[in-house]
């Protein structure tokens, strides 16, 4: 990673702080890039698979607006939005998704493995729940060193049923670690609705089993996410221990590229579409008197035009050299770019 890239990621991150227009713009960026990624996959321009976060932009942007770049985040294979929100550039994210040498990990990671440590994003986790104990480990580092950083794990509702969830939350609470666990509850673990796999829909209630606060928040509303995350992060920084946040969201697309999500009732999709984070945020900005519809339309168009230009440029970039696969396996691996 060049110094310029790092500066850009941090700049993009800092731009979100206390700026609803920047937050709206970032959500549009995520939405537009995801829609274009969907098209690129469908057209065969990208191989492998992808997991879109369409509809879940407010949670990513809300969290990023609260956290510091020095905090450490573990996110999931549905992580394009978190990566962009935390500050990674669309070029480095799309470059990695497309397996380009200029991608965030040089094309060896792909859609499910995005990383930028300049803004605290560990390589995103493709094993459900895998990031939960790792974020607690980052919190352990902060606690051991007497620093006020926070370890944050963002997972889906499916992760609430894997052992790592129980072990990480229990241990983080026992050691009173500066951690925040966030469940992005979109009601579907891959193809299965939550009521088929889990005896409760309100997963924040599980916090009581670990002796930590559990908070439910409207994950489609960036202001609500910011409020809940601010409380949890402040508690963690001040030695108050971990918090479990459950954000109620919805996945507008299927689980992965292969999934058309025909198992979902259309009425359910329609109902959630009315609470599209872009609509909710737009209303909020107008209500606050920060901008009107016309200004937001112009901003929306500008962001989408930028993304379109980036997509066109990234598609033309070269793939990695064959030697790239041999780099960074060990600390003394050959330097191969």
């Amino acid at each position: 990673m060049s110094a310029t890239t790092q500066a850009t990621s941090i700049d993009r991150r800092q731009a979100l702080v206390d700026d609803p227009m920047a937050q709206f713009a970032r959500m549009v960026e995520i939405r537009d890039l995801e829609e274009r990624v969907n098209v690129l996959f469908a057209s065969g321009a990208i191989h492998g698979t992808t997991h879109l976060c369409l509809g879940q932009e407010a949670l990513a942007v809300g969290l990023a607006s609260v956290l510091r770049p020095t905090d450490v985040v573990t996110a999931t294979y549905r992580g394009h939005g978190m990566a962009l929100a935390l500050g990674m550039s669309p070029e480095s994210v799309l470059g990695e998704i497309m397996g380009k040498a200029e991608g965030s990990t040089g094309g060896v990671g792909g859609s499910m493995h995005l990383c930028d440590m300049s803004v605290g994003l560990l390589p995103t986790f493709a094993i459900v729940g895998g990031g939960l104990p790792v974020a607690a480990g980052a919190a352990l580092t902060f606690q051991t060193r007497g620093e006020d950083g926070v370890g944050v794990a963002v997972v889906g509702d499916g992760a609430a049923n894997i052992g790592a969830f129980h072990e990480a939350l229990n241990l983080a609470s026992v050691w009173r670690l500066p951690a925040v666990f966030v469940i992005d509850n979109n009601s579907y673990a891959e193809y299965s609705r939550i009521n088929l796999t889990t005896p409760m829909e309100d997963l924040h209630l599980r916090a009581s089993a670990y002796g930590m606060p559990g908070v439910k928040v409207d994950g489609m509303d960036v202001d609500a996410v910011i409020a809940a995350a601010s409380d949890a992060v402040a508690r963690a920084r001040s030695g108050g221990g971990p918090t479990l946040i459950e954000a109620k969201t919805y996945r507008f697309a299927g689980h992965s590229r292969a999934d058309a999500a025909t198992y979902r009732p259309q009425e359910e999709v329609d109902e959630w579409r009315k609470r599209d984070p872009l609509i909710v945020t737009r209303r909020s900005i107008i209500a606050k008197g920060l901008a009107d519809d016309a200004a937001l339309d112009a901003l929306d168009e500008r962001v989408r035009a930028d993304v379109a230009g980036i997509v066109a440029r990234v598609q033309e970039l070269p793939g990695p050299a064959m030697a790239a696969m041999f780099g960074h396996v060990w600390h003394d691996s050959p330097s191969v770019g």
Binding site: L122, E167, H328
Partner: protein, 337 residues
């Protein structure tokens, strides 16, 4: 130089690294207050305090993952897996998360964690607490594997593992914990990773050993007066091809003595590599003295026979040197099955 038990050498290595580097922390089940189920962390809590020496719940997945996260963010955690089998519930974190994090971050993240696990049969712990299971971890690029065989190597390999910038697992043969030996401590006592040790020079055959089979082969050589060169690998990943090949080219014969099942044991890789690289130098077909393909049995007589023992190694190597033919394993020779 001090005379100490294997388990004390482990504790000495931990203490020396903790004194040298404040980022070294130790955690695991019963390692702090109880000072380790095998007394391998004696004195650590008293000297380094509860921030750096911690008891965990019985949560191998949780605390192994926390070690990954702590290592990725600047600590050098050393965790104890009480019995190697317990790594089974934590393997995701070591193999799929920790060992891939450097690669998936394009070199942005190092994971300098050390896993200590007690391994092996001979102590009457039965089928679920007596395996060595090197093959769980030996085929993961990014993860080093070391196996000490006496107090000196227990001290020296552990210090190297803690200092290494990649994840390393040190597999400690449990039956050796009470063994005494002279140990050089301090920097002179550090044993490098990746370097095998010729523990007995000889000319008639090269005998490759690991862990507790080292002393078995040495005693067999002494008791039967065998002119064999015994090479203790010490590090299984990456193993020291040069030392083994140099020896085999001189002796023309290879025997591997391993505490692992005949099918899939680590010796297969040694034999395969030697045959491919030094076929023309071999005067006889290489062979392996292994355990049978069964779970570790409990009854004392059965467990004793299960392990490659001094008499069996002496007998098979003598026969091999006399005939240049591969001896049958005892269970075939004696018609047990």
């Amino acid at each position: 130089m001090a005379r100490m038990r294997f388990r004390q050498a482990v504790a000495a290595a931990l203490a020396d690294e903790m004194r040298a580097d404040s980022s070294v922390v130790v955690f695991g089940e019963d390692v702090a207050v109880a000072q380790g189920p095998f007394k391998t962390s004696e004195g650590l809590l008293a000297e380094f305090g509860p921030l750096r020496v911690r008891d965990t719940p019985i949560s191998e997945m949780g605390f192994t993952g926390m070690a990954v996260g702590a290592a990725a963010t600047g600590l050098r955690p050393v965790i104890e897996i009480m019995f190697m089998e317990f790594l089974g519930v934590a393997l995701d974190q070591l193999v799929t998360e920790g060992a891939k994090m450097r690669y998936l971050s394009h070199g942005q993240v190092s994971v300098p964690m050390t896993v200590r696990a007690s391994v092996g049969a001979g102590a009457g712990f039965g089928a679920q607490h007596s395996q060595t299971l090197e093959n769980w971890v030996a085929a993961t690029p990014g993860l080093r594997v070391a196996v000490p065989s006496d107090p000196q190597t227990a001290y020296g390999l552990l210090r190297s593992a803690i200092r290494d910038d990649d994840p390393t697992i040190v597999m400690e043969p449990r039956v050796l914990y009470p063994e005494r030996g002279e140990v050089v401590t301090g920097d002179e006592g550090i044993v490098p990773l990746g370097v095998a040790r010729v523990v007995r020079p000889g000319n008639a055959a090269t005998v490759v050993t690991l862990g507790q089979t080292t002393r078995v082969a040495l005693r067999a050589a002494e008791e039967a007066g065998l002119d064999i060169e015994v090479i203790d690998l010490l590090t299984l990943v990456p193993w020291d091809r040069a030392t083994v090949l140099d020896s085999v080219r001189r002796t023309g014969r290879l025997v591997v003595v391993e505490e692992a099942p005949w099918s899939g044991g680590w010796g297969e890789g040694i034999v395969s590599a030697v045959v491919s690289a030094a076929f023309g130098d071999l005067r006889a077909a290489p062979f392996r003295i292994t355990t049978p393909d069964v779970p570790v049995p409990y009854a004392k007589d059965l467990e004793t026979r299960y392990l490659p023992n001094v008499d069996e190694v002496a007998r098979q190597v003598q026969e091999f040197l006399k005939t240049d033919a591969v001896p049958a394993p005892w269970w075939v020779r004696e018609g047990v099955i």
